[in-house]
């Protein structure tokens, strides 16, 4: 009888993924760039559960008793705040990283659902303005395509300081996607690899930011809500300083948040998960007496009405989605499996968005591929998905006895893990223990 041998064993440190990256790095000498958000497992909304009503609290009747969802953003200083039918908005994604059809579809879907969509690093296109009932115009360090006419035809302005996928990093759009139209909008030569700045060119720090927001308000006659978007890293201070600088709305994006193209090492190692960022941000607003006066929009890995309800219960006023919206349009659809395989990947794992070869016609500027995305039908799918998210959140809220999604509160939540309990500041399920707050 042969001597029994140990089964070949993989290292938990040098996993097959790690080894393949080392080989890739050794072969090319350059870091890996990709799209999408952090792929590693992180403490997330899955680690929280709602406590439905029973004897101590009573629930609301599904389909019979109202559970409102409307949210108003920008009521602090803007004379024309934004009203959304449901507290989920479409996050800023640039024309350039996305095709014109994809941008149009996002506008159509958001408008059908009664919510807003957002431009991105690259300016506003007529397609997206035309098809978006409520459009937020991003003001980024690169200022690509920035102009006062678009500023005035926007419904709100979002000053971008950072993104969850890469707090402290600038944008990146590689040559394959810099077509004549994209280049023209950015005032750059076509075909070059383009990096956008990571700091704003004409202000640094919170005191300057306050002056900058003042300028944008003066230019738009104090009509438009002004958001300030930050990547989650020091959420307490960043939120406090954004509010102090005069923001109407703070947008907080966690590390799971998607990106069009960033170094993998950046995506996976910089910033903190959104679960850990919401409570400190809410605390900052509460300490300033501004909670619910300055609205908080959170994003980074939001996938469902449950995620939305949990974010709202922790104190956010609304959520934003990027990746989930792209999936609703048709991104990574198994129907294109053969083509994903030809690109050396598989449906669900495709993230080489920067290369511009997306079989689904979303993260591409290739006119042939782009044609595959019918903006009307894709917009309808997005609207369906947004309405499911809303219904799901209402289902949960009614079960907790709430007549408005905003009445959800941390007391409705418990955590499944000690980490999530500490980060979200809610008790570990079955105990009254909040690590760091009660007991030890």
């Amino acid at each position: 009888m042969a001597t029994p041998r140990t089964r070949p064993r993989f290292s938990a440190t040098f996993t097959p993924d790690v080894m393949s990256e080392i080989r890739r790095a050794a072969a090319t000498g350059i870091y890996d760039i990709r799209g999408a958000g952090a792929k590693r497992a992180l403490p997330h909304f899955d680690d929280l559960l709602f406590l439905g009503a029973s004897v101590s609290r009573y629930p609301l009747e599904g389909y019979r008793e109202r559970c409102d969802t409307e949210v108003i953003l920008g009521s602090r200083f803007a004379s024309k705040p934004i009203r959304l039918k449901t507290p989920v908005t479409i996050a800023g994604m640039s024309f350039g990283s996305l095709s014109a059809n994809a941008k149009e579809a996002l506008g159509r879907g958001a408008s059908l659902a009664g919510t807003s969509t957002t431009t991105g690093d690259g300016g506003m296109t007529d397609e997206e303005r035309g098809h978006s009932q409520t459009l937020v115009y991003q003001y980024l360090p690169s200022r690509y395509g920035m102009n006062p006419d678009d500023l005035r035809r926007a419904d709100a302005i979002e000053v971008v300081i950072g993104q969850g996928a890469k707090p402290g990093g600038g944008g990146m759009l590689l040559g394959q996607k810099i077509t004549e139209r994209v280049a023209g909008m950015r005032c750059l030569p076509p075909g070059i690899d383009q990096r956008s700045a990571c700091r704003h060119p004409d202000w640094t720090g919170p005191d300057d930011l306050e002056i900058k927001l003042g300028e944008l308000r003066e230019i738009t006659d104090w009509e438009k809500p002004i958001y300030v978007k930050v990547g989650a890293s020091r959420p307490y201070y960043d939120t406090a300083l954004a509010a102090k600088s005069g923001a109407d709305v703070v947008v907080l994006d966690g590390m799971q948040g998607g990106t069009a193209a960033t170094q993998d090492v950046f995506i996976e190692n910089v910033g903190i998960p959104i679960l850990a960022a919401i409570r400190p941000a809410v605390q900052a607003l509460q300490d300033l007496g501004l909670h619910r006066k300055v609205q908080l929009v959170v994003s980074g890995g939001i996938r469902s009405g449950a995620d939305m309800a949990k974010a709202l219960a922790l104190g956010a006023d609304a959520v934003a989605i990027g990746t989930a919206a792209l999936i609703a349009l048709g991104d990574n659809d198994p129907a294109y499996e053969a083509e994903y395989e030809a690109l050396g990947t598989t449906a669900g794992a495709y993230d080489d968005w920067h290369e511009g070869n997306d079989p689904a016609g979303i993260t591409t500027q290739n006119p042939e591929l782009m044609k595959r995305l019918d903006p009307e039908r894709a917009g309808r799918r997005l609207a369906n998905y947004l309405s499911v998210m809303t219904l799901e959140a209402q289902t949960i809220a009614r079960a907790c006895g709430k007549s408005h999604l905003h009445n959800l509160e941390p007391e409705d939540l418990v955590a499944l893990t000690i980490e999530a309990a500490a980060m979200a500041g809610v008790p570990l399920a079955g105990t009254d223990w909040i690590p760091g707050k009660t007991g030890f």
């Binding site: 005032c187 060119p201 003066e218 006659d221």
Partner: protein, 229 residues
């Protein structure tokens, strides 16, 4: 001729009144007294009028300007004429950092000196500086011209794209991917045209300027260039 005293009335009223002007307005000359370094004076204009500011302006004076001519009879703070689209901004004193940042068009004429990052990320504007400019000027400058009668500080034109830089005096150092390029007749003619637009033609000889532009080595990622940073 409307006169507006910022001691008497708030800035918000001035900007609103200027925004309300139509292209065919006959109120074409505005005088603003007592600016006292206030920020965001005459921002977001879009009518062919002239606004004369009688003193020093703070940050972002003339920001996002279209069509209008804004004249500062004093110095200007950070980001004067930032993101200007067309028209002109004249600064008779000095300008602070980031003058003309990201501007797409129009003329920014500074008759004193400009601080650091003059013309940062410029996208088509023409900037003329009679004095000198500070460090990191024309950083990532994409398009347009920067004409300087005096000297330039460190790291001129770092990572620049297609903007043209004309410097008459010394350049302390060039930034990554910025190189000197030969001055030909077309360039001398361009310098002359820009000086003329700023009212400085005849003051200096265009032949005394040197031209700097992008070596275009960083337009595509290449490992061998990693050392440039």
């Amino acid at each position: 001729m409307p006169a507006f005293d910022l001691h008497e009335r708030p800035l918000r009223e001035l900007n609103r009144a200027l925004h309300a002007l139509r292209t065919d307005t006959n109120e074409t000359l505005w005088r603003v007294a007592n600016p006292d370094g206030r920020h965001s004076i005459a921002v977001g204009l879009d009518a062919p009028v002239t606004v004369e500011i009688g003193g020093n302006a703070g940050y972002y004076c003339g920001g996002m300007n279209k069509q209008a001519t804004v004249i500062v009879h004093g110095s200007a703070g950070v980001g004067v004429a930032e993101n200007m689209m067309s028209g002109a901004v004249h600064v008779h004193g000095d300008a602070s950092q980031s003058a003309g940042a990201t501007a797409h068009g129009g003329l920014l004429a500074i008759y004193g000196n400009a601080g650091s990052r003059c013309g940062i990320s410029m996208k088509g504007i023409d900037i003329v500086v009679r004095g000198s400019i500070g460090h990191l000027s024309a950083f990532m400058a994409q398009a347009g011209t920067l004409t300087v009668l005096g000297d330039a500080g460190e790291a001129l034109g770092d990572s620049l794209y297609e903007a043209r830089l004309y410097i008459r005096g010394t350049v302390k150092s060039l930034g990554a991917d910025c190189i000197e390029k030969p001055m030909r007749d077309e360039h001398r003619a361009q310098v002359y045209a820009k000086l003329e637009a700023a009212g400085l033609a005849g003051e200096v000889d265009p032949a005394e300027f040197r031209r700097y532009g992008s070596a275009r080595q960083l337009y595509h990622f290449h490992v061998d260039n990693a050392g440039a940073y």
